[in-house]
Point group: D2
Chain length 466, copies 4
Amino acid sequence: MSSWKGRFRERLHPEALRFSSSLDVDKRLFGEDIEGSIAHVSMLAKQKILSSFEAKKIRNALRSVGNEIKKGKLKLDGFGTNGRFVAEDIHMAIENRLTQKVGAIGGKLHTARSRNDQVALDVRLYLRKEITGIVSSIRKLQKTFLSKADRQGYIVMPGYTHLQQAQPVLLAHHFLAYVEMLQRDAERFSDCLRRVQKSPLGAGALAGTPFPIDRNYTAKALGFEGIVENSIDAVADRDVHIEFLSASAITMMHLSRFAEELVLWSSSEWHFAEIGDAFTTGSSIMPQKKNPDMAELIRGKTGRVYGNLVALLTIMKGLPLAYNRDMQEDKEPLFDSSATLAGCLQICALMLQSVKFNKQRFTNDRQSDLLLATELADYLVRKGMPFRKAHAVVGEIVNVCVRKKVSFKELSLKEYQRHSELFTRDIWKILDLRASLQNKKSAGSTSPKEVAAALRRWKKSLRSKS
Amino acid sequence: MSSWKGRFRERLHPEALRFSSSLDVDKRLFGEDIEGSIAHVSMLAKQKILSSFEAKKIRNALRSVGNEIKKGKLKLDGFGTNGRFVAEDIHMAIENRLTQKVGAIGGKLHTARSRNDQVALDVRLYLRKEITGIVSSIRKLQKTFLSKADRQGYIVMPGYTHLQQAQPVLLAHHFLAYVEMLQRDAERFSDCLRRVQKSPLGAGALAGTPFPIDRNYTAKALGFEGIVENSIDAVADRDVHIEFLSASAITMMHLSRFAEELVLWSSSEWHFAEIGDAFTTGSSIMPQKKNPDMAELIRGKTGRVYGNLVALLTIMKGLPLAYNRDMQEDKEPLFDSSATLAGCLQICALMLQSVKFNKQRFTNDRQSDLLLATELADYLVRKGMPFRKAHAVVGEIVNVCVRKKVSFKELSLKEYQRHSELFTRDIWKILDLRASLQNKKSAGSTSPKEVAAALRRWKKSLRSKS
Amino acid sequence: MSSWKGRFRERLHPEALRFSSSLDVDKRLFGEDIEGSIAHVSMLAKQKILSSFEAKKIRNALRSVGNEIKKGKLKLDGFGTNGRFVAEDIHMAIENRLTQKVGAIGGKLHTARSRNDQVALDVRLYLRKEITGIVSSIRKLQKTFLSKADRQGYIVMPGYTHLQQAQPVLLAHHFLAYVEMLQRDAERFSDCLRRVQKSPLGAGALAGTPFPIDRNYTAKALGFEGIVENSIDAVADRDVHIEFLSASAITMMHLSRFAEELVLWSSSEWHFAEIGDAFTTGSSIMPQKKNPDMAELIRGKTGRVYGNLVALLTIMKGLPLAYNRDMQEDKEPLFDSSATLAGCLQICALMLQSVKFNKQRFTNDRQSDLLLATELADYLVRKGMPFRKAHAVVGEIVNVCVRKKVSFKELSLKEYQRHSELFTRDIWKILDLRASLQNKKSAGSTSPKEVAAALRRWKKSLRSKS
Amino acid sequence: MSSWKGRFRERLHPEALRFSSSLDVDKRLFGEDIEGSIAHVSMLAKQKILSSFEAKKIRNALRSVGNEIKKGKLKLDGFGTNGRFVAEDIHMAIENRLTQKVGAIGGKLHTARSRNDQVALDVRLYLRKEITGIVSSIRKLQKTFLSKADRQGYIVMPGYTHLQQAQPVLLAHHFLAYVEMLQRDAERFSDCLRRVQKSPLGAGALAGTPFPIDRNYTAKALGFEGIVENSIDAVADRDVHIEFLSASAITMMHLSRFAEELVLWSSSEWHFAEIGDAFTTGSSIMPQKKNPDMAELIRGKTGRVYGNLVALLTIMKGLPLAYNRDMQEDKEPLFDSSATLAGCLQICALMLQSVKFNKQRFTNDRQSDLLLATELADYLVRKGMPFRKAHAVVGEIVNVCVRKKVSFKELSLKEYQRHSELFTRDIWKILDLRASLQNKKSAGSTSPKEVAAALRRWKKSLRSKS
């Protein structure tokens, strides 16, 4: 039974039905739909719009429909017992089944409600659940970075700019950068959740309802922090949905960067990290391959989430108020992005746990000695040379090293003094990667002291969060 | 059985397997995969790399696997008989089943082939089929516009700019604009097809193969027009895929414009078109509603296809050669866009057939009389006034009409002459919507003669195309 | 003078210089750059890294350079006095000029600072200023909606779903929906600002600095609420930039919807709103045209802001830490989006003020009488009929009206009773648009009482905000 | 002077004028605008719509206006001599100046033309020029790859999949992959050009014109291959514009991949390529840095072009026919993408010329010896083992090598035979990177013979193209 046949002489064309049915997508909202309907019915009873007998009957039947779906006993293919397609979406599928169970009073469930506020409600219930799950997965990934930092964070690696070795940093410091990024990601989701946490139920089709409903009652019963005030706004907008997709896209951007780094570090050339067998794959043709597929997939799936964001932005652009059927297309981008992000966060944490780092990779590397160039320049500055000049002097020394294929340590003091008389015997002390780290003085720097403090701070802060 | 276990001591983590499996998506390529494998095996036999006995056995078994899948007899869930997940993608699922059937020689199917060229091949076979179908659907929609123009194309409607009534046009002329757009859409798909029609098979993992294969043989057997020459390019690029998505996005853009027009025309305010009951829906709450849902969905689904284009562009950005696992993510955007576009083209044609136009809507409308303002200006120009001045004069006359709430026809000649002495009695002849149409002289204009010629041309041109 | 010549034997190729120079774009950050440098120098002096004499000299010179730029006395084309291109960006242009003024000690400005933290700082200062301006423009537009509602909000118009007339609403109620949307937009910008309000200065190139700087001092001096803790994160991430673009895109989405409505309402067909002459344009060829160009441009410029969001998301995807030159491309999307959004908010408010609404448009419209169909159904429900049945009954009555071309009011009671015996004489009372409004009981509905309360609430709430 | 004041009582608001003016953007179309106007005037004279005297006068004045603009003598700021803003776009700026020169007959230029067909024409003339330039730049980059291949193409490098060393390839083979990609890019632009090469002039505002113009005459005079037939289509669509942006985005995608590779190859870790000093930059703080900025910028600018594509797709979505002011926003994405792409193609070619490759990098690398694993497997297959089994056997041998830290060559024959008795003395012959190359047999493989043939083919094919 469709919900609107009255004024129509002709049935919906079968192809149109197939084209417009959303059941296959929105059926995963069945739990939210039933939860919302139960709250609605309770309110209708409280307000004497339904009798408490009717309400109880409907509620029980709704719960039983929910169980049927959970157990796979109710086919959600949209076809009725007569073999005709009858339910264009999950809302009608549930209501049809309800009516089979309780008869005509099932029709009263829709009193003082429209599919417009109903679907707006269901998606907000869904988003709330998903955001909670995602924030918790973000916490887990942050904790994985921290525990990994605890175990191997003392490793010295080159910090890169332009993918050129720039200055030595602790692996823990590098990891802490991701912990910070993920923290802002979690904040963005929490900010979004604040806006999600308003109930649209009771907005009706768009104008409210003549029934003396209590919107705050259902809002509270469903765990919302308030109602979406304006009834048109409640059914017409999808901005928090886009905000969710945007927060997802930014988080994926962050994950894609770490994924890229894992891919680089796992290459023969970098030879810095080895992802565990359980998170790599081989090649069907090249027996030596050990491929960082999970990292590549995380990086690739970023495209999917970006695309979903673009999809919903495009859908909503220039739509007049209030509800338009275009907005049915809001669900797949949400469902797909949420599942993708949750999957990537989980795999990223699992994979990270499995990574082994090559401790000696950069400490034994002649090339990496050039990481100390900034130290040399700062040395000259401390002895009174303006920074720009010190930079030029060290640049010339680098040239000598590159030409002669030697490291800073292999140059003689005399050679240094040829470039500036400020060089004295104490330069040997600074020509050491770990000395460079310890030398750092600024807050938030890669100095072991700062890094240790940051790790302590983060562990304490995350301990309280599940 | 995974295709690469040799050097691994640990199995893929179950979550990693789930995360990376593409079987659920790429299983719809089973037909292409088997078609490609059969051609490959025939070539291997021709080149004496397999014996003709082996080849025949494998070919027969492949056909039988194909039939099993078609009939739903082979579960494509990736789980083996031992309940363990064994097939990460359709290619392994088929090969596993093959090996069950023919034993160890099944392993020879993969001789001189890699999953990289195999999957590149499958997708090209898929794209070829889809493009052919889409072009044919475009033809159908063009023909629907033409047949609709035949029946109701004589209706005069306002051509709009800025959604303001601008100049009268024939409905047929308006439809012909879409026929032209769709023609360019079809051309873009055909251009793309030319680039799709090259076989990547034989590129191996990326470097070619030491087996004396005949790439042109398989290319020809599979109906390609040639091979993708360079073996790295063959497995590394996805540009024709993006081109397909771009052609789809542009076509959706065109459809979204017509959909928007149908939505507008169906509004109470426009009252110009009524979409058939079979392509409209009602409201669950407002019994009077007759909603242009199909048009709205077409407009909304544009977002989905735009998003898919962005997804693949994002995925491919900055990927080093050759194959990267990110590229596994190319399939869903393709499958989804193709299905969406095909569905929209079909529904658009069916819906258009059902539309009834309100013939008298604009011919009896005082407001629409202002459509003749350009005629009035041109009238003055023909009598020698520079265009810019004529424009200003008529602008003032429009002001008078708006202020007095009268139409051009209701003004007296004297009033006209108050604005310019060039006005004489012959202005009454031009103050008629159809006269305005007939007045048009330029090629491709909305004059009935030009429109009739265009219709004839198009009907002839499309007749030859299925 | 370039900032890094030391180790290079060859100059940058002139085409490479032109290609990579950002001066033309980032020169608008000159104010932020000087502000940041002054704070940095003061801190260096406080920490005894520079002498107070040096610091004072540099600060004064920086202020003087700032004045030169403000007054247009310093050419910012990147060319030095010798006609050679010397400044690739605004930072070097300022430092070069500084050095001309104060000689070699100018080189000390860069002590304990890198271009990486410097540019990150400048953009945050810029974003803070822009967000403040945008939030204030959002407030202005909200207030314009409210003052417009005060004056013409009592007008009854159809609320639309699917662009079909659905239920009567007050124009003020419709406006309030936008006030709510804009409120969430402002919130999103404020949430973003919280994350912007951290100083990256002192992060150095990526690892911190060996100089004993005081990061919190500069943060406080520049009005930040804290520092970006991790030095790598400080120079490597651009997530708050993307968040800004996303908040901008969502706001543009909202504006595009209102713009679309203005375009529709201004059409001859809708004839509901007339935008003031000062915000419409005519046609170069059609003298009668009065085009809603500003609304169209707002709608169109949505594309530009969406594009900017995609641009920066794409840029950042998959970039390894820390700074990469790709990130230079972050500025134009920010500058362009901010200017576009600010312009659109301003024009939207000005244009809205100029709109005149046609009060009688829908109250005298036979078609709009169907808006009362939901009232009829609710009437039957109140008399005990289940909603779904009431809906079907009214649907049939609508059919009668459409077929007979009469309105609900023009049907006789007998005819009503033919469809249900529940109809009695009291139906005439509900067949009135304003009665329908007054009938609404739910919180946030379009009932005049609810709307008046919402207006009061909003006016009070916005009064306190500049 | 605005072009449409007649019916307006109030001037455009100064902020609206500023907001809507496109002069600052479209002024770079002045050449196209004048070219089009001259052709239009000549046609008007030929058709006796203007006298030949008038036409000559206007043509001469137009040429003179063009020269004024070229020489910077005509300020294009939109302000008239009275200090009032008078020209909202380049078309009015030129016409205003024309009228200053020739008086009232200047107004006749706009006879039988509208700004709608005029601007459509100008952009097509622009696109034609840009496409021609871009295709030529693509040719240059292809030739640079070829000449680089001539000089260093014999270098053996690892072909990568998943960024893991996969199989040895010739550098020339790798370059040829890009030559192929660029070839398809050029084809896409040429296909687009075919659709650009139709004249919209004469479509008028949207309906054609009552003047007896000759559209084919102007089309031919301007070098078009025909006319855009339907007058509505001619002014309403922007699909070829989007197609141009899409072709640009795909080409940028290709360039971003090569840019990524240059960034990787230039890293200390890869140490495979050194970009010339003239195309790298240093760091303001780290004297040792030599950064691949140009490659990074090319990669980053990909985002900008993707964004432009999204912008125009968004703009055009759901716009009713014909012209809407939103479409004014089509120009910046086109101008910006074209300039960006042209710049990137040029810099990419120049930079590539400057790259020096480290010939011995991979031939002396123990790790790279594993590249021969596929050879080993194929060896076993040739001796009769099914491929899947051979793969597993070699996988185990790889494990031994990794565990013992030895290369394939360092294992004894005995050890090989422990894994399979098929191994005999002849394996030493295949354990050589160059032997592996020579071993390849398939068309388009990396075998030196195939690569040499491909180079010859390409050089011949490109010789004929400027």
